[in-house]
Amino acid sequence: MNAPARDDLYQDAIMARARAGHADSRLEPHDARATADNPLCGDRVTVDVRLGDGRITALGQRTRGCALCLAAAETLRAAAIGAGPGDAERGAQSVGAYLAGGAEPPFPWRDFALFAPVRGYRSRHGCVLLPFEALRQALEAAPRR
């Protein structure tokens, strides 16, 4: 007899984010754009950023991915406003450490504690972190002013 099914990854709070309807909300005009792929599963996230004084004033994205990737991209869309150079790396590190069993991520990434159920599924951590990689690349590509 199999153990009881574990469906905790797809709890309502995560699915609500995944269905938020911003999966194709590209930003025009934008100051920088970057696309990150997960070659293992084919998920793809494109992030557009508009900047003011080196910080994000608006963020658009197009995500083709699983429910976890969609929910993470939506969470990032709200959390990244105000982020500046280096913040994407720090965000990815703190959220990655949280998924690996560490402390809850600090502001402005605190909302990623929503992904607590993903901690038990190491193969899915990359789904949550892929939007950070797209954001990191976009900020890196942004013109310095």
């Binding site: 199999n2 099914a5 574990r6 469906d7 990854l9 797809y10 599963c41 084919g42």
Partner: protein, 70 residues
């Protein structure tokens, strides 16, 4: 079977939670998936040792995937 809006890896994960092993993704056929405009598919295969319980678990998991993901 098409589950609109459901990603093949999410379907595979929910089936895995019921002890049903399937394969999700491109199946090494990314050009075909692009041509069909699909993110991928979830593929189930029967084997000589598969029994009614396995099929029931698969159908149960597919129903749960439809409820949660679509």
């Amino acid at each position: 079977v098409a589950l609109d809006g459901a990603h093949p890896h999410d379907v595979a994960q929910l089936l895995d939670a019921r002890g049903v092993a399937v394969r999700g993704g491109h199946h090494c056929a990314q050009p075909l998936m692009d041509r069909l405009d699909l993110a991928g598919t979830t593929r189930a295969s029967l084997a000589l040792y598969s029994d009614d319980g396995d099929v029931d678990a698969f159908v149960d998991g597919l129903g749960e995937a439809a409820r949660r993901l679509t």
